[in-house]
């Protein structure tokens, strides 16, 4: 990452640099550190900043939202069944008398933990397999690609549902299952980018210096995929939230005593018109979560991409 991107920050032979410093004398662009440069380009992107704010609010809500209500998500209030939102129950209650506010806090927490950990694990596996296959080449590469393609043909969702029906219920198992069957699309993208990286001179140089294959993959190829990995990490959160919601909605994901946004959606599905609040609150939270992560991912892509025009706002840095 650093080896690839630093040279053009301090010492680019800039033909237009004098003109620009003349126009804006205050900050010397040449002295900008890499982190500051990325931060500045990211902050310039208003939707991305909005995404960060929404995401942080959601995290705070899931972490501390439970302090503001006296109900827990497991408590049933039998004096208030299917009540619309009001003073006692801010988001209303469901047919069993569960407080929707408490459920939403817990469900969001559950979905967030699952989404973030699955997407981190997925990226790690995908980077190792994708870059490893690209570097190894030959038979290993072909076998890996065959496996990846196989899981692109059979909808991986079917396999997920098949496997998680037996194993899941526990959210920790769900994390493992979602990771095991979710790394293929990312691995394919990483593989296709790595095939060009493996031809680079520094990889050849490392190989001629006697560096082992594992070390080349870990120290020379994967760091140069940095921006791709970071962007895919944020977008992976979106994908995971969507598939976790779908699985839990169908009853194959998180199971009943536990609550996630997907199970809340399933609860509200039957009463869309008679009790819309059961459905509206989890739906709103899911959409806020995925939209904020997408905005962050797009902002990061623009900020980290040295050739991006949108991130650099028409030539400015």
């Amino acid at each position: 990452m650093a080896t690839d991107a630093t040279p053009h920050a301090p010492s680019r032979p800039t033909s237009d640099a004098p003109a620009r410093t003349a126009a804006r004398p205050a900050p010397q662009p040449a002295e900008l550190g890499l982190g500051r440069l990325y931060l500045r380009r990211f902050v310039r992107n208003r939707p991305a900043v909005a995404g960060v704010v929404i995401f942080l609010l959601l995290v705070l809500f899931s972490a501390f939202g439970g302090r503001f209500t006296s109900y827990a998500y497991t408590d049933a209030d039998f004096t208030a069944l299917t009540r619309p939102p009001g003073a006692a129950h801010w988001f209303g209650t469901n047919q069993g008398g569960d407080d929707i506010y408490a459920c939403a806090v817990h469900g969001l927490q559950r979905s967030l933990v699952i989404a973030v950990s699955v997407s981190v694990l997925t990226i790690v596996v995908a980077a190792l397999v994708g870059a490893g296959a690209a570097y190894a080449g030959g038979r290993v590469e072909r076998a890996t690609l065959a496996l990846v393609h196989f899981l692109l043909i059979v909808p991986s969702f079917l396999v997920l549902a098949l496997v998680s029906h037996r194993l899941a219920g526990d959210w920790r198992v769900l994390i493992v299952v979602l990771t095991v069957f979710g790394w293929m699309p990312t691995a394919r993208v990483i593989w296709s980018v790595s095939t060009s990286l493996r031809e680079r001179d520094y990889v050849t140089a490392a190989r001629f210096m006697g560096v082992g294959p594992l070390r080349i993959v870990l120290r020379h190829i994967i760091p140069n995929l940095g921006s791709l990995l970071i962007v895919n990490l944020t977008l992976g959160v979106v994908t995971t939230v969507l598939s976790e919601t779908a699985l839990s909605f169908l009853g194959f994901g998180v199971q009943t005593p536990d609550v996630s946004l997907g199970t809340m959606l399933a609860d509200g599905a039957g009463t869309v018109t008679s009790a819309p609040w059961l459905f509206a609150f989890p739906a709103g939270l899911v959409v806020l979560l995925t939209v904020s992560m997408t905005l962050i991912g797009d902002g990061l892509r623009d900020a980290l991409d040295p050739t991006s025009v949108t991130g650099s706002a028409g030539g400015r840095r």
Binding site: F150, P155, L158, V159, L167, G251, G262, L265
Partner: protein, 327 residues
């Protein structure tokens, strides 16, 4: 050229065969038909349960390779996809449902591609214009909505329309009305039931095509051959349609194949929400009832749809891309 398409088609068929067989093993390992019988009263012994499953080729005492071979031979020789743990033939269940679902998935795919590509072309030609920004925002929002939320939102709007605007043709449950008779009314009735699920799936599917087609076309709009086309006197629209779009459609055509599994996944949820008795809902039921053969038949159906899409995509690529025709 024909030979290259045939060779690719053969490759896809091989992939379906491998994928279906792999799913058989997965389903055999992860679904346990015995658990259906354990809840029955009077309580059966394990041996009795195994005995009851034996005629359907689901006896867990038989090695899985043996069961697989019996299943494979009956599929290949008689096109018999086996029986459920309660003895219901899978073929009878699947035949009708496959038609219903194939109709849903194919119509939704075609509509998604047409709407998505048209919108992509329209907005790419007006980059950063008003229409572009609005549709971009809408598409990014829709891209992030789970299918279940979208389907329920469609149900909500449809019921609201039915109640307030006095419409009576938006059906939110089932794939046909039971009391309709006669050929033409039945077809009309089915089409009316098709509206909302197809709308939902199209909504979920068009977004990808819109966003990718827009960026692909934006890349080609700057290419030399498009500028040359403009220089020969073509209008902007003609240059886009005849030259830029043709080049930019190639990756889209290739991606349709991999879009079908996503649409099928969407169909699983859409059919559940709309109460359709299609393959998607059948899949949920088979998994819940530990029906190994039914689940495998669904996976085979999904893989076959993907392969059909992929072969059509290959043919489209041949028409669009002269480089493929030459080599």
């Amino acid at each position: 050229m024909v030979r290259s398409v045939l060779r690719k088609a053969a490759g896809w068929v091989l992939m379906i065969v491998v994928a279906t067989n792999a799913t058989f093993f997965l389903a055999s390992w992860f679904l346990d038909p015995r658990s259906n019988f354990r809840e029955l009263r009077p309580v059966r012994s394990e041996a009795q349960i195994d005995q009851a499953l034996a005629p359907y080729g689901l006896d867990p005492r038989v090695p899985v390779v043996h069961r697989w071979w019996d299943w494979l031979t009956s599929v290949v020789l008689h096109f018999d996809w086996g029986k459920s743990p309660t003895g219901v033939p899978v073929n009878g269940e699947v035949g009708y449902r496959a038609l219903v679902s194939a109709e849903l998935v194919l119509v939704a795919t075609i509509l998604s591609v047409v709407v998505g590509v048209a919108l992509g072309v329209y907005t790419a030609a007006r980059q950063y214009g008003f229409a572009d920004r609005i549709s971009q925002a809408v598409s990014i929002a829709v891209l992030n909505v789970p299918t279940s939320v979208a389907a329920l939102a469609v149900v909500f709007v449809a019921i609201w329309l039915n109640q307030h605007a006095g419409l009576r043709f938006l059906y939110v449950a089932g794939e046909n009305s039971p009391d309709v008779t006669g050929t033409l009314p039945v077809i009309g009735d089915r089409l009316l039931h098709l509206i909302l699920p197809t709308l939902t799936l199209t909504l979920m599917g068009y977004v990808g095509y819109h966003l990718t087609q827009r960026s692909l076309l934006l890349d080609t709009l700057d290419a030399d051959f498009v500028r040359t086309a403009r220089a020969t006197g073509l209008t902007c629209g003609q240059a886009i349609r005849r030259h830029a779009l043709r080049a930019a459609l190639i990756p889209t055509a290739a991606s349709v194949a991999f879009g079908i599994p996503a649409i099928f996944t969407g169909a699983v949820i859409t059919e559940t929400v709309f109460g359709w008795n299609g393959m998607g809902r059948y899949f949920i039921q088979t998994i819940a009832k530990n029906d190994v053969h039914g689940a495998v038949a669904t996976a085979a159906f999904a893989a076959a749809l993907t392969a059909i899409g992929a072969i059509l995509a290959d043919i489209a690529t041949v028409f669009l891309d002269p480089r493929v025709r030459v080599s």
